[in-house]
C-alpha cells in the first residue's frame, strides 16, 4: 500500500456550517488531520478595521464543537487558518475564547499552539524606509508612515513554516492568525514528507470546502488524499462529485490568474497539471510545480477608518420623477450644499444609488430601460456621525419635498419603508494596507505560543 495521508476539510469558512452526516462519513476514513479556513478579505475592510468576526459566535462554536470533539477522539491535529476571519489579535482571541469554552465544557485536555500574525507598526515603518514594501497591484496607494499610523492594526499572511513548527511540537489544536489560505493544509502534507507543490495545490482546493465539486458548496466537506506524485479529491457527500473540469476550474475562483498562484515565499504553477477522473466523484491531480521566491515576502493587510455614514432607503414610483431622477438628485445636492455652506465641501459627500436603474453597475450600466419604480439608496459620509446625520436629514427632507419642474404629485416624492427613515451606519473603513514586505524567512514575523489545557 503506497504511502498516503488524508486531510478532511469540513467547509469553506469556519462558522458557515456543514452537514454533520457528511463530516462523520469523512471521519470514518480515519483522516490524518482536520483543517479549516476561517478567513477572507472578501467581506470588505470593516471586519479587519473594527476587529469583528465574519461569522456569528454561535455558528463558530457550533462548528468548532464538532471539530474539536472528533479531532480529539481520533487523536489527530485540528488546524484553523485565519482565525476569527481577519486573523488579527482580536479575532484570534475571539476564536480562542470559544475553544477554551468548548474544552472546559467537554472536559478535554490538550496542547494548543497559537500563531500570531500581527505585524508591529515599527517593523513596517522600517521596511518603508528601507524600500522593502511594494503594493500588490499598481492601483494600491503607496504605503507611507502616516498611513500606517491611521491603520487599525496590520496583519500578514503566514506560510507553512510556523505551522510546521507547531506540528513538530505535537500541538493538538493549532490556531493560526491570518494565513495564506492553502498554508494550513499544505503544512500537514509537507510535515508528512509529501511533495510541496502537491501539498499547496491540494490546500488551494480543500480550503474552499466542497466548492470544487458539482454542485459546488462552501458549506459541505471535501477530502484530500496526498500520495507520492499525485493527490486525490472527493466530496464525502454522495450527491456531489468532483470532475476533472470542476477541479481544474476551481483555481480560477477569486484568483487573479488561473494557474500561477503566488504565496508567501512561493510561486505555484499549475499550468501543466493533469486532472484525471478515477471514479464518478473522485479526481486525481498531478503535475503541480512550485518554486521558491529569491526573497521571502509576506502580504500585509490593514484597514483604516475613513468617515461616518448615515443612509436612507426609499422608493420612488412617480413616472415623471423616475424619468428625471438623476437631475433632481443633483439639484437636491446643490441645495443642501448651499444651506450648509459653512461646512467645507471636501469634508463630506452625498451619494445616490438608484436601484432598478443602475444601482449595481453605476456608469457601466448599458441598459436604457426605464423601470416603473426605483429603490433609492442615499448616503451622507462625514467626519462625525452627528454631522453625517444632520446633513442626511436635510438631504432627505429636501428630496422628499423637492418641487421639480412638471411635478404633479405635490405631496411627497419618496416612499419610506421605515420610521425613522435615517439610519446611522457607523464607521466606513477602507483597505489602507495591501502590500508585500520583505522578511528574513517564513517564521520571522509569526511568533508561536503554546498552552497546555
Amino acid at each position: 500500500m503506497e504511502k498516503q495521508i488524508k486531510i478532511l476539510s469540513p467547509c469553506g469558512i469556519l462558522g458557515y456550517g456543514f452537514p454533520i452526516k457528511h463530516f462523520m462519513i469523512g471521519m470514518e476514513e480515519e483522516p490524518d488531520a482536520i483543517v479549516v479556513d476561517a478567513g477572507s478579505t472578501d467581506a470588505g475592510p470593516h471586519k479587519l478595521g473594527a476587529g469583528v468576526a465574519i461569522v456569528s459566535r454561535l455558528a463558530c462554536k457550533k462548528d468548532l464543537s464538532v471539530l474539536i470533539n472528533e479531532s480529539r477522539n481520533h487523536k489527530i491535529p485540528l488546524i484553523i487558518g485565519s482565525a476569527g476571519g481577519s486573523g488579527a489579535r482580536n479575532h484570534t482571541e475571539w476564536t480562542l475564547d470559544i475553544i477554551y469554552e468548548i474544552l472546559k465544557e467537554k472536559n478535554i485536555n490538550c496542547k494548543i499552539a497559537i500563531i500570531w500574525a500581527d505585524i508591529p507598526v515599527d517593523r513596517v515603518k522600517i521596511a518603508i524606509r528601507e524600500n522593502k514594501i511594494e503594493g500588490l497591484s499598481q492601483n494600491v496607494p503607496i504605503l507611507t508612515e502616516e498611513l500606517v499610523d491611521v491603520t487599525n492594526g496590520i496583519v500578514a499572511q503566514m506560510g507553512v513554516e510556523p505551522i510546521l513548527e507547531a506540528l513538530e511540537n505535537k500541538a493538538d489544536i493549532i490556531v493560526c492568525g491570518r494565513a495564506y489560505d492553502p498554508a494550513p493544509f499544505a503544512a500537514v502534507g509537507i510535515y508528512h514528507g509529501f511533495d510541496e507543490a502537491l501539498s499547496y495545490h491540494l490546500g488551494k482546493i480543500l480550503e474552499c470546502g466542497a466548492l470544487c465539486a458539482e454542485p459546488g458548496s462552501a458549506k459541505d466537506c471535501i477530502m484530500g488524499v496526498l500520495k507520492e506524485g499525485s493527490f486525490q479529491v472527493y466530496p464525502t457527500n454522495i450527491n456531489r462529485k468532483c470532475t476533472p473540469i470542476s477541479v481544474a476550474a476551481h483555481t480560477f475562483y477569486e484568483k487573479d490568474h488561473p494557474y500561477v498562484l503566488k504565496g508567501p515565499g512561493i510561486v505555484l504553477n499549475l499550468e501543466n497539471c493533469e486532472f484525471e477522473a478515477i471514479s464518478e466523484s473522485s479526481v486525481s491531480v498531478k503535475g503541480s510545480k512550485l518554486s521558491k521566491t529569491p526573497i521571502y515576502k509576506i502580504k500585509l493587510e490593514g484597514a483604516r477608518q475613513k468617515l461616518f455614514r448615515t443612509f436612507v432607503i426609499a422608493g420612488v414610483r412617480d413616472p415623471i420623477l423616475i424619468n428625471i431622477i438623476e437631475k433632481v438628485e443633483a439639484l437636491v445636492i446643490e441645495s443642501v450644499k448651499e444651506y450648509f455652506s459653512e461646512i467645507p465641501k471636501e469634508d463630506y459627500s452625498i451619494n445616490f444609488y438608484n436601484y432598478g436603474k443602475n444601482g449595481v453597475m453605476g456608469e457601466l450600466e448599458a441598459s436604457l430601460n426605464i423601470p416603473h419604480e426605483i429603490g433609492v439608496l442615499f448616503e451622507v459620509l462625514a467626519k462625525t456621525q452627528s454631522q453625517a446625520s444632520a446633513i442626511c436629514s436635510l438631504v432627505r427632507s429636501t428630496f422628499m419635498h423637492y418641487g421639480y419642474e412638471g411635478r404633479k404629485s405635490t405631496s411627497g416624492n419618496l416612499a419610506f419603508p421605515f420610521s425613522p427613515s435615517d439610519i446611522e451606519f457607523g464607521v466606513v473603513y477602507e483597505f489602507s494596507v495591501y502590500h508585500l514586505m520583505e522578511v528574513k524567512d517564513g517564521k520571522e514575523m509569526f511568533p508561536i505560543e503554546y498552552k497546555n489545557i
Binding site: T41, D42, A43, G44, P45, H46, L136, S137, Q138, N139, V140, I245, A248, A249, T251, F252, Y253, E254, K255, D256, H257, P258, Y259, E271, C273, F275, K306, L307, S349, N351, Y353, G359, V360, M361, G362, E363, L364, A366, L381, V428, Y429, E430, F431, Y434
Partner: protein, 103 residues
C-alpha cells in the same frame, strides 16, 4: 452568431483581493471553448471598452484550455468596501459579458 452567455457554463465576476476584479468565463465542452478562444472576441480592447477602463488596467487575460476557461483580471477603480463602492464582493459586475457576440 451566439451570445457568450449561451455558450458559457459559468460567467461570473468576483474580487481577487480588495483591489482587483476578476472575470471568469468557463465552458463545459472543448468545442465551445475553442470557438470562443479562436473568435478573438475576448481581447484587451474589447474588455477595456465594456468596462470603461484603460487596457493598462487589465493585469491578466489568460486562456487556460486545460480548465476550459478564460480569465480576465483588472484593477478596481474603487477598492472593496470603501466610499463609493457599489459591490463589496464584486460579484455582480459580469452582465456586460453576456452580450458579447461570438461568430
Amino acid at each position: 452568431m451566439d451570445r457568450l452567455v449561451d455558450l458559457a457554463k459559468v460567467l461570473r465576476s468576483k474580487n481577487s483581493g480588495p483591489f482587483e476584479l476578476t472575470l471568469d468565463i468557463l465552458f463545459d465542452d472543448v468545442v465551445k471553448y475553442e470557438r470562443v478562444e479562436k473568435s478573438g472576441e475576448i481581447n484587451r480592447e474589447a474588455i477595456a471598452l465594456l468596462y470603461r477602463i484603460n487596457t493598462e488596467d487589465i493585469t491578466n487575460l489568460v486562456f487556460f484550455k486545460k480548465a476550459l476557461g478564460i480569465k480576465i483580471t483588472f484593477n478596481r477603480k474603487i477598492s472593496s468596501g470603501t466610499v463609493g463602492d457599489r459591490d463589496v464582493y464584486g460579484a455582480q459586475q459580469h452582465a456586460p459579458l453576456f452580450d458579447i457576440l461570438i461568430p
